[in-house]
Symmetry: C2
């Protein structure tokens, strides 16, 4: 049998795992510094928990898990009826009652609703786990990928938005990625919609605005007219979309346009609060962008999107404020604000801009040569000392010729070899050779633990 | 809708995640120090990769993933035929072609076979990922749990066994768990089988021996007689099972019993090599145990099992040498040796013996009180300094009464609060209060970053 791997899924070898873990560890560290607490939920949720939460298209992309024991005669009748339902696009717990998580937000909401009485609010959690989607695989889109989320729930305070903007800045600074943190506020978009045809047109307007980058202003205006907006309304939207300048200038323009609307006033106030609170080190990266809409319907206040500078790549982070995390699970009116990091894209950005630390892919640092049983015993004892000092080391597994052992070191990118032959045994020394520089030196064995194996 | 979680699966809250990560990080660190390289494989494998690898019982416990798009008319006919097959216990790729991994060994074997040409051997990999089994849930048995494996493949050298024994010792020393590392060799069991009725009886004998702990010697002897062994043969097995004493004494006894058999000789030699090579610090924990059999059929040489001392608990680690990792995937004769760690049980042992570091569950270390907008801006700036020194800190999200903010700190087990009111603003000081000792002190704001927030 020729082995293969399911479409849209990936194996990660050592170098890739190390780089990915570097990203995860950095984000995790900053999450912890900001007082977020880790949560891990199971890969599977009940089908009931997941279905109907992601729209009709989302539902189709959920991976469902087949019940076990279907060939047990006592299950057959029910399973057959269930199968008929499945064929008609209806789920049936006699065939499938579990599914793989599709994102981290719904499992988080389910967790908060289930444990509401035990949690203390505001509740700040982070979660870094894989999700699965039966999307058609394509470049940069996988069926298994990690999400990386931080949310604060149970607080309306704008300080949370301030914190999350600062958190974004800290993470990307630590990763050496220069970014623009775009912010907008859904209340400003709501004001625009209210002025241009009532709040019912909010979805139409955000959908059209979302396309601005792709289709350009003329087409957006055409589309808005087709959706029934009159000349004046389209004119206001055009004015809105052409707002430009520094954050201050943009805010002045949006105030002139929407500042008399109640929603507009509130949204602008919220934006200004954030900008006024944040220190210059964060504000430098903050871009007020009134064309930012974010697809998800549940956002109600501040929205975020992060783009890397100097590289062609979609957003590497996003999020926003919502009013009701857990209503669908019986706990209404729990507001929150959250952000997420797009780890696959962050990885690609860091590869493209060569931002990973140089020594990140180094595994084993020292290879001890194996030149006989007595020699390898001495080598083993010395190696154990290095290992207990957290220097990854290996002893070549067989007694073999120099040549073969050097080749092993080269193939595995091991930067140093330590050689202990009969001569060194007698003199209680060892030879250290750097494979990068070719430099070779002999030192007493007892000084080996003080040697700096730096690359 | 009342939310729930699938049977046999678990949410992990902050304290548990932190403790589990402590275990993972410790094992990962030692794996790296020993020159093992990380590998991550996808949660799903093709059904073909998994089926038929774990015996008939295992096959039944594999979670299969339903294909998407079954209600698409163009799929219906094939899906219906496929469903008939499923009802008869046969898999059919028109209904399910993917499944969740059941262990880490088969995905590893699949990976090695797929990438054989690119890997350099001996190949040392470790893998720490969850697996899924549709087992009936019970105390200590879950449907989702982590496995944690290290394997060396492509080397017959016994140095690998030596390394893995030392690795076990290092990990458990680092976790402060006192252990017995039991070792035996399948070749010795093979010798016993050969002497007692031909190698065909190896399975009968190991099955019977495996039950010794549970049913006692008399019953084991009865069972062996029932399986057709004669008095003399049962007598030899009784002698074998009563071997006792120090490692040296046990080896002397097994030599007398099986030392003339070719398999016996080889197996004893291998055991002796390990014991002679390992330093006393590891040998102290090494227990030669000839009653150790390990269920899995593919082991062919050294076998390991680790038990924690001072606690009633099944094995917390196990492994052994095998001859053929990848034969089923078209790459024959690739030998290897591997061990695994039982993370759930290690967690339980550490809880029971209170071995987790005291500060492991501490999340946020400092809560800055929020006493107004101007005050909170000053607090925010100071807090950012602490965070950049890796001290997890929070600013209370709303301006609120002292009482409320103290309660939040207490509920979240935050050990220190920092208070900056109008008086402190003016004097450029801050009040630090330890909630553990009640001690309160006022220091200049500029000295806050030097303060030791130790618990």
């Amino acid at each position: 049998m020729k082995p293969s791997i399911p479409q849209g899924m990936r194996d990660f070898g050592a170098a890739t795992v190390r780089k990915r873990h570097f990203i995860f560890a950095t984000i995790r560290n900053i999450f912890e510094n900001y007082g977020f607490q880790p949560l891990e939920t199971p890969a599977m949720e009940t089908l009931e928990t997941l279905m109907g939460k992601y729209g009709e298209e989302g539902d189709k992309l959920i991976f469902k898990v087949l019940n076990n024991g279907l060939n047990d005669p006592k299950n057959t009748a029910k399973a057959t009826a269930a199968f008929e339902n499945i064929l008609h696009g209806k789920n049936d717990r006699h065939l499938t009652e579990r599914a793989l998580r599709y994102d981290l937000t719904i499992p988080f909401a389910r967790y908060v609703a289930m444990n509401y009485g035990q949690l203390s609010f505001p509740f700040k959690r982070y979660q870094i786990q894989p999700v699965w989607r039966a999307d058609r695989p394509q470049r940069g889109r996988y069926r298994e990928f990690y999400q990386c989320d931080a949310d604060v729930v149970g607080s309306y305070s704008l300080l949370n938005e301030v914190e999350l903007a600062a958190l974004y800045a800290d993470v990307f600074k630590r990763l050496s990625i220069e970014v623009e943190i775009k912010i907008n506020n859904r209340k400003i978009l709501a004001a625009l919609a209210e002025i241009c045809g009532g709040s019912d047109s909010l979805v139409d307007i955000t959908v059209a605005i979302d396309k601005l980058d792709k289709i350009g202003l003329t087409k957006v205006k055409e589309e808005l007219s087709e959706r029934g907006l009159n000349m004046e309304q389209v004119g206001i939207i055009e004015q809105y979309l052409s707002i430009a300048g520094s954050n201050e200038e943009k805010i002045a323009q949006v105030k002139a346009l929407l500042g008399n609307n109640e929603w507009g006033k509130k949204g602008i106030e919220e934006l200004e609060y954030m900008i006024n609170f944040l220190p210059p080190s964060v504000n430098e990266q903050l871009i007020t962008d009134f064309t930012l809409a974010r697809g998800l319907n549940y956002y109600t206040g501040t929205i975020f999107e992060v783009k890397a500078k100097g590289v062609q790549m979609g957003s590497i982070g996003g999020g926003g404020r919502y009013d009701d995390l857990t209503g669908l699970f019986g706990v209404p009116n729990l507001p929150g604000v959250g952000i997420s990091f797009g780890v696959d894209r962050i990885y690609d950005v860091m590869e493209e801009l060569q931002l990973f630390p140089a020594d990140i892919a180094t595994g084993t640092r020292v290879l001890f040569f194996n030149l006989g049983e007595a020699e390898s015993k001495v080598a083993f004892a010395l190696m154990q000392q290095l290992r207990s000092n957290n220097i990854p080391a290996e002893l070549y597994a067989e007694t073999a010729k120099f040549d073969k052992q050097f080749k092993y070191a080269e193939k595995k990118n091991i930067p140093f070899v330590v050689i202990i032959g009969s001569k060194e045994m007698e003199a209680k020394t060892c030879v250290i050779k750097s494979l990068q520089t070719g430099v070779q030196q002999t030192i007493p064995q007892e000084e080996l633990t003080d040697f700096k194996f730096t690359v």
